[in-house]
């Protein structure tokens, strides 16, 4: 899977990935997918909660070698 735009949140701890994500989502159009990469282990549960609250679609997540990626479709 590939996003229309990639947002790098590696090296950031709570709450910064979510804060950056809230700004980053505005850089893709409705229906487009933002790919967010982070290494904060709380990122996946946080991004799930964020998407549920904000009404954006969490299309997929994956983890590889301590790097977490979330694909978010802007509503």
């Amino acid at each position: 899977m590939k996003g229309d735009k990639v947002l790098d949140c590696k090296g950031l701890a709570c709450p910064m990935p979510i804060v950056k994500l809230s700004k980053g989502i505005k850089e893709v159009n409705s229906g487009q997918v933002l790919e967010v990469v982070a290494d904060d282990p709380a990122f996946i549960p946080d991004v799930k909660a964020w998407c549920a609250k904000m009404g954006h679609g969490l299309v997929g997540t994956n983890e590889a070698g301590g790097v977490y990626t979330a694909f978010i479709k802007r509503s």
């Binding site: 701890a13 979510i18 809230s22 964020w50």
Partner: protein
């Protein structure tokens, strides 16, 4: 009920102020309108400078003893004369956790509404000119008015 979050920041402890700002920035990032009501010891978190002029002797003593700004707040536990907070800041930097100053700036950037308690300022002899810009002055009704419209209210 509106999508609002209201926090009372009563504590001036570094760790508790940090928790407050993390919740505030997190809530703002989740689309809520956030109010932070700074009262009593919490006012130290929004100070930018210290002014002694035009203050009485007891107010001056209090001004001298209070933290000068958000970077000087003590830890609620194990502060050990400042060594604890120094160590905590080192660890936070090492673990790449945002500093209190960065969290404060992030909250401002996310348009978190800062309200300072007029009565506490009066009692402690803190002048509005000692506070960072963009802070609104209010009383208990200002907070309650916001809290009644909030889904989440917290006292820290």
């Amino acid at each position: 009920m509106d999508d609002k979050v209201s926090l009372i920041v009563f504590s001036g402890d570094m760790d508790k102020v940090m928790a407050s700002f993390i919740i505030a920035t997190g809530a703002a990032a989740m689309g809520s309108q956030v109010n932070m009501f700074f009262t009593f010891w919490g006012i130290s978190a929004i100070k930018k400078e210290t002014i002694y002029a035009k203050k009485g002797i007891m107010e001056r003593m209090l001004t001298f003893m209070l933290p000068k700004d958000i970077n000087k707040l003590p830890l609620s536990k194990m502060n050990m004369g400042g060594m604890g907070s120094w160590m905590m800041k080192k660890l936070m930097k090492k673990k790449r956790v945002a500093s209190l100053q960065e969290l404060l700036e992030m909250a401002q950037d996310l348009e978190v509404n800062f309200i300072v308690c007029q009565m506490s300022m009066d009692v402690m002899g803190i002048d509005k000119s000692e506070l960072i810009d963009g802070v609104n002055v209010g009383g208990v009704a200002s907070f309650l008015g916001e809290a009644q419209e909030s889904k989440i209210s917290m006292f820290v």
